[in-house]
């Protein structure tokens, strides 16, 4: 009986949706089904965005030995409301020479693109908006749409800073797209499917009390770290926030945006971060599955959001720790470290498949990965000594 009740709580949203679909005329049911799948995503993730902004501001404050926002509401938790009202009532300024249509479309497109990614992320057991056979492929192609939006914003503003920011953003996003996809290839190899639901199902078993998450394998942990670094760069978050470096190019591609359009960009960035964190959870952290076998009575969607919050806190922690990279460091890191590591990781994942199970493959493959980490890391952390610059024409 308690087993049954736990299942009911776990499936409460699914059952609710079925009940609603049964109570309406059949011709309407595809439309209503779509709406019922999409509306929760449109409600929950912006709410999470609001919570994240206040967590981020408070967390960064504490990291810097400050208190952070504490005036609006209890412990400052109504701060996002105040921010929202502020950005809604602010004047919307469009530069005179800007391409007005593109300038308007860019923030809308970035939000749409980041929302579309959530369609294939399983939030709980049987809770996914679209179970596509090529879900991962879909996710990455939608992620590439964000780059278009960013460049639209940078180009249409007709400002040198926004164009510089957009160019940096494009260079960065394309460079990091590669390790992002390659680091998730190992999961596709192990699960044998591109469908996110199948990938979670492949990780849902338990050995004793421990789960079969991919992060508990040598290639899984390496893939997870590479994926998170690349996702951080894709989301333009610190330390990879040069496209919007406040101190150099004063907010980059969204310098000419104000008021609600700026808020939309902000929302889009955070949603993009949630989407890639959600994908990391799906690929490496077992999606909605419980971390220990005796905790499966806790509803699956709660596990998903707990993991998501943990990853967000990790992002905030990293943001509070690291300074911004230089452009050449960023590119060197992508091409000289991330890419070869991701490729080696694919080889390691293949070797894992063909080696007999046991401690030996664990040790051997971990050593291979650690050695290549040290090797490539040495390569990029060596200080390049440039010759003294000579100016031929200046005296």
């Amino acid at each position: 009986m308690p087993e049954n009740a736990a299942v009911k709580v776990d499936q409460v949203f699914v059952l609710l949706k079925h009940a609603i679909l049964h109570s309406i005329p059949p011709p309407l049911s595809p439309l209503v089904s779509a709406i019922l799948s999409v509306v929760p995503i449109l409600l929950v993730f912006p709410l999470l965005f609001a919570i994240t902004t206040v967590l981020e501001r408070k967390g960064l404050g504490r990291i810097q030995n400050r208190l952070g926002p504490n005036r609006t509401g209890p412990f400052g938790f109504l701060q996002p409301m105040a921010d929202g009202i502020k950005s809604l009532t602010k004047e919307d300024i469009v530069p005179r020479d800007a391409d007005h249509l593109v300038h308007l479309c860019a923030p809308i497109l970035i939000v749409i693109a980041s929302f579309l990614g959530f369609a294939v992320i399983p939030i709980g057991r049987n809770m996914v908006a679209a179970n596509l056979d090529s879900g991962l492929l879909y996710f990455f192609s939608i992620g590439a749409l964000m780059e278009v939006a960013v460049f639209m914003a940078g180009w249409s503003s007709k400002s040198k800073y926004s164009l510089l920011g957009a160019m940096r953003a494009i260079a960065q996003m394309i460079s990091y797209e590669m390790p992002l996809v390659l680091s998730s290839v190992v999961v596709i190899m192990a699960a044998g499917s591109l469908s996110t639901v199948d990938i979670v199902a492949a990780q849902s078993g338990y050995t004793g009390i421990f789960p079969h998450w991919y992060v508990f394998t040598p290639w899984g942990i390496a893939g997870f770290i590479l994926f998170m670094i690349a996702a951080c760069a894709e989301a333009n978050r610190s330390p990879f926030d040069l496209p919007e470096g406040e101190s150099e190019i004063i907010a980059g591609y969204y310098i000419e945006y104000s008021g609600f359009k700026f808020a939309l960009f902000f929302l889009g960035e955070y949603l993009g971060m949630f989407a890639s964190s959600g994908l990391a959870i799906t690929l490496f952290l077992g999606g909605w599955t419980a971390p220990l076998s005796f905790l499966t009575w806790i509803p699956s969607y709660l596990w998903f959001f707990l993991k998501l919050l943990a990853l967000i806190c990790g992002f905030i922690w990293v943001r509070g720790t690291m300074p911004r990279l230089r452009m050449d460091q960023l590119m060197n890191f992508a091409w000289k470290f991330m890419l070869p590591m991701a490729l080696i990781n694919i080889v390691v994942a293949g070797a894992w498949h063909f080696m007999p199970p046991g401690l030996i493959r664990w040790v051997v493959l971990s050593v291979v990965l650690a050695a290549s980490w040290a090797l490539f890391g040495r390569g990029i952390s060596q200080k390049v000594r440039y010759a003294a610059r000579t100016y031929r024409y200046a005296t």
């Binding site: 504490r62 400050r66 470290f337 952390s381």
Partner: protein
């Protein structure tokens, strides 16, 4: 190895994060409207006019010499001289300002008016919460709004004010001595002689 520095940094920030909840002295910020740091003695915001004694009109040190008006770089001071005279801080009859306006929306807090004033009449205030809903009238300080007592000046800039008070006491004593000597001399000489000397 790559990443060791990052881990060191992460542990440092984690220490800050957790420490800020337990060690109150880590937090360097002050919750402003409720808690305040003491205002520094050398702080300066906008000028005010000093007066001695209880009545600002009678005890105003300003003699309307208009040096500050001329020296003010952004020209935020407006002075109109009075027609009649009143005794100043030392006791000499002097003009006084009929109008003394400072537009604090123009003032740049440079303190040049204070440096040039020979009568120690204009000093810098430390009050900084001056926001107003009327940005034209509300930021134009009239003479009456600029009056601050010498006690207030002593309170906000004690070192400086003590020096000023000592100098004034000396000047007043000297002036008194002079009048006393003059009176003695007058008493010693016959009246006719005095009249003759004045005629010469």
């Amino acid at each position: 190895m790559l990443g060791s520095g990052i881990l060191k940094g992460l542990s440092e920030t984690a220490r800050n994060f957790i420490g800020s909840y337990f060690e109150k002295d880590r937090l360097t910020t002050v919750q402003f409207p409720e808690e305040r740091l003491p205002v520094m003695e050398n702080a300066r915001v906008f000028p005010f006019l000093v007066y001695d004694g209880p009545d600002p009109e009678a005890g105003l040190r300003c003699v309307s010499c208009q040096i500050c008006e001329k020296e003010c770089p952004p020209k935020c001071i407006t002075i109109e001289k009075s027609k009649d005279k009143k005794p100043d801080a030392v006791g000499k009859p002097q003009f006084y300002p009929a109008v003394f306006n400072i537009d604090i929306s123009v003032c740049m807090s440079c303190q040049i008016c204070v440096e040039v004033c020979p009568f120690e009449a204009i000093k810098m205030d430390t009050a900084f919460e001056l926001s107003t809903t009327d940005r034209y009238g509300g930021l134009l300080m009239k003479k009456q709004q600029l009056y601050r007592s010498n006690e207030y000046y002593n309170e906000i800039h004690p070192t400086e004010a003590h020096a000023v008070d000592a100098a004034f006491a000396e000047a007043r004593a000297a002036a008194e001595l002079k009048t006393k000597q003059a009176a003695e001399a007058r008493a010693a000489k016959p009246i006719a002689e005095v009249q003759r000397t004045t005629e010469n």
